[in-house]
């Protein structure tokens, strides 16, 4: 067998005194596409960064070897690493927003890479840069090369970063969560382009991702990591259909997918009960500062949330889905239309009536790190709505907090802890407990599970379903992830550019989409190709 392009042998990495990678070994053959899959904190990004000698802060390789075409680069000096980075190993970083210099034109940033590595003279670097940008699939590359990063969308920036990474024709491309900050349709375009380019150039790809579906679609081989160790490795199809390790089995089972059996019972068609929430022709205009123009963020949206059911709003960034939830919660004023909560129009409501309306609906936000005040203990956090609405006395409230912690399956000992002592999943449970404190009729979940790891996400979705069954809650569930929505929603509203392009029962929308945009969204969901081979079975 040939020398592998990249070989990592028993790699240990430590930050300060804490070891985070405990003996990782993996190989990448020339031209091969390998995906490293794992949850946050699994050490996947750290491993990828170690290859390029880019460990942040006080991180260092404590033992093990990294071989690039047989050459040991584990403890290579800075001069060697400079030649290695870009020239032999390209990197596509995670966050396209912070990895481009905001004050330098895009074309110049690409040209710089070529000049630094001696692949072009200053004179022809600019022309070459435009060619490379065109390769990466950037439309109108000559004009775009003269623009600055802020004039680019997220997807275009990521294309520029791919162009930079591939400018010197490295043999290995390390892509660290290259699309997790992008919308699903953009993600698909970027990955298609990346795949075509690496195939064309014969570049090997090391794709670091948390998304099992994405790995299934794009990689020949999968390396599953958990808590700093490789728990399983093998050809993609094999790992995903016959996972050997217990962790991989849990990961595969937890991954939301479009084809898995749905846990939510199909909605019964005839339900006489009036809806909890009904929006009719709701619109929202924002005045554009300075120019006197008006931006219509939400345009004539109507839908209902039935009692004890879940309605999901699906859309990409900028679709207006979050604005809809903010209007429902009374956080931003409504420009036009009516929002009826339990039959009463809450638009423009104030004082005691607004207070009553707010009591009946409670929010759960996306980021469990941001939505809990870090100076509050869990007990104080969950008890806050009770104090605001002056429910019960001190002892009564403490009892209610214990009861709520029990509802969301957290031990009572958590009550005295602070948010920074909890994991992401525990925090989101606290946020849910807080939302339930006042026995609301409607819980508004704005991307409530999208910041969580797959297994935790699955647990939270289960919890939400259980609570719905036990307490008869209704959810307005906003998400960009169709697979997640499929697991929880009875009805779906698909939004695009402020308009509801399609709405209906989940099965109908997902299985027989009528709008072209819904079809595009469905096609872009990673894991679909794998699902059709049927990889994900059960659920």
């Amino acid at each position: 067998m040939d020398t592998p392009l990249l070989e990592i042998v028993d790699l240990h990495v430590a930050f300060g005194g804490t070891e985070v990678v405990h003996g990782v070994s993996l190989q990448v053959q020339p031209g091969e596409r390998v995906a490293v899959v794992g949850e946050s904190g699994s050490g996947k990004s750290t491993t990828a960064h170690a290859i390029m000698g880019l460990l942040p802060g006080n991180g260092r390789v404590t033992s093990g070897r990294i071989l690039l075409r047989g050459e040991d680069v584990t403890h290579a000096d800075e001069a060697r690493l400079l030649r290695l980075r870009g020239r032999e190993v390209g990197l596509v970083p995670q966050d396209p927003m912070s990895n481009l210099n905001p004050v330098t034109r895009i074309g110049k940033q690409v040209a710089e890479t070529l000049v630094v590595h001696g692949l072009a003279h200053r004179r022809d670097a600019a022309a070459r840069a435009i060619e490379i940008l065109a390769e990466a699939g950037l439309p109108e590359p000559a004009r775009r090369a003269r623009q600055y990063p802020h004039e680019f969308s997220g997807g275009m920036r990521q294309r520029a970063l791919i162009a930079i990474a591939l400018a010197c024709r490295p043999q290995l491309l390390v892509a660290d969560e290259p699309t997790s900050a992008l919308d699903v349709t953009v993600q698909q375009q970027i990955l298609d382009r990346l795949e075509a380019l690496t195939h064309e150039l014969g570049t090997a790809l090391l794709l670091v991702t948390h998304d099992l579906g994405l790995a299934a679609d794009r990689a020949d081989r999968v390396v599953v990591m958990s808590e700093g160790r490789v728990v399983e490795t093998g050809p993609t199809a094999e790992v995903l259909t016959k996972p050997q390790h217990e962790y991989t089995q849990r990961l595969v089972a937890a991954a939301p997918s479009l084809s898995a059996a749905r846990a939510v019972a199909p909605a019964v068609a005839t339900e006489p009960k009036p809806p909890v929430l009904a929006l009719e022709g709701v619109s929202k205009d924002y005045r554009i500062r300075g120019r006197g123009g008006v931006l219509r963020a939400v345009d004539d949206v109507s839908f209902e949330v039935r009692r004890g059911r879940t309605t999901a709003i699906v859309g990409e960034s900028g679709s207006g889905k979050t604005t809809v939830t903010r209007m429902v919660l009374g956080l931003v004023p409504v420009t036009g239309g009516t929002i009826r909560l339990d039959g009463d129009d809450i638009v423009g409501m104030r004082g005691a009536r607004m207070r009553a309306a707010r009591r009946a609906m409670q929010p759960v936000f996306q980021d469990p790190y941001g939505s809990l005040d870090p100076t509050f203990s869990v007990e104080r956090l969950i008890g806050e709505p009770l104090r605001i609405f002056k429910v019960g006395d001190k002892a009564g409230r403490a009892g209610r907090v214990r009861e709520l912690l029990d509802h969301v399956a957290l031990p009572a000992t958590v009550a005295q802890r602070y948010p920074n002592e909890l994991s992401g999943g525990q925090r989101q449970r606290v946020a849910i407990a807080r939302a339930l404190a006042l026995d609301p009729q409607l819980v508004v979940c704005d991307e409530a599970v999208s910041a969580l790891d797959v297994i935790v996400q699955d647990q939270i979705l289960r919890l939400l379903r259980t609570l719905q069954d036990d307490l008869g809650l209704s959810y307005l569930f906003v998400s960009h992830d169709l697979a997640v929505v499929r697991e929880i929603a009875h009805d779906i509203v698909v939004m695009r550019e402020g308009r509801a392009v399609e709405q209906g029962a989940t099965e109908q929308v997902l299985d027989q989409p009528s709008a072209e945009y819904t079809r595009q969204l469905l096609d872009a969901v990673p894991g679909r190709a794998a699902a059709e081979r049927p990889l994900f079975s059960g659920g």
Binding site: G57, N58, G370, S371, P374, I388, R434
Partner: protein
């Protein structure tokens, strides 16, 4: 997306981080010395600060009975430095208190309500247009001397920076998800400002207080030097400097020690404040630099 607030357990960790920072430790030790000297001045000082010894003017330091020597009237320099430090700390503390009591509420209000922001911020800009010493000298000149007036003048001079700091923190915290969540739970502005925004802004306020403190100490010395602050015969480091200046060619010592005292107080607060800011800033998580 960063939540930069500092929860209670993190504050405990911040203290540990502070203890590991050598500069912070030096600052803390200097502060401890200064505070002990100021608080216990009446007991530590060998003589009353205004007691004159006409028989022994201009004694050198390390003279028997006068560890740091005496000044032109034969007053014990050590006693006067101790009492002067006490006065400086009193002025510093009172002006910080004034800046906090007035600046924090105004900052919160300006950050939270856009309309009031226009008024408060323009007033702040107006006050910042005057150099703070000019302002303090002006106020002291209007109100006359004395320790209380000096503290008020210096406190007022430091209010604008406190408003700015608190306003900036409020603007940042106002847009966090936890404030949004509180709004959606029908929390009123008083609850949001008092229970969510203020506790999260405390770190910034504490750090700003450690910046105002040495500025006020220095300001008191300047005002007293100019005769606008503490009035003789009450001891003040600034008065000691101005007295010593007249006899500079006769002996240097009566001016050296109050100068050192001012430097130590300011250095202590600055070093401690810097270390405190680093320790409370969650962005500097890594150990060492």
């Amino acid at each position: 997306m960063t939540t930069l607030a500092v929860p209670a357990p993190v504050r405990w960790r911040a203290l540990q981080k502070l203890a590991r920072n050598p500069m912070g430790l030096v600052g803390a030790i200097l502060l401890l010395i200064v505070v002990v000297a100021g608080v216990f001045a009446p007991w530590l000082a060998p003589y009353p600060p205004a007691e004159v010894h006409f028989a022994t003017p201009f004694q050198q330091p390390a003279t028997v009975g006068f560890a740091l020597g005496t000044d032109d009237l034969g007053r014990d320099v050590l006693s006067r430095v101790l009492h002067g430090t006490r006065a400086s700390l009193q002025v510093g503390f009172l002006s910080v208190l004034l800046a906090v009591v007035v600046g924090v509420p105004l900052g919160l209000v300006a950050g939270y309500w856009h309309r009031l922001d226009a008024i408060v911020s323009r007033l702040t800009d107006l006050m910042l247009a005057f150099p703070f010493l000019v302002l303090a000298v002006g106020l002291a000149a209007i109100n006359g001397g004395g320790i209380g007036n000096a503290a008020v003048a210096l406190g007022i001079a430091n209010i604008p920076t406190m408003i700015r700091i608190v306003r900036a923190e409020t603007l940042r915290l106002k847009d966090t998800d936890f404030v949004l969540a509180a709004t959606a739970m029908d929390a009123g502005p008083v609850r949001i400002l008092g229970q969510h925004i203020l506790p999260n802004a405390i770190s910034a306020i504490i750090v700003q207080a450690t910046v105002i403190m040495p500025a006020a100490v220095l300001g008191e010395a300047v005002l007293s030097f100019l005769g606008l602050g503490i009035q003789p015969p009450a001891p003040s480091l600034g008065i000691m400097l101005s007295d010593a200046q007249q006899f500079l060619f006769r002996t240097l010592w009566p001016g050296v020690f109050p100068g050192i005292a001012i430097a130590v107080i300011c250095l202590g607060f600055n070093l401690f404040g810097d270390a405190l800011r680093d320790a409370l800033d969650p962005k500097t998580v890594s150990e060492g630099h």
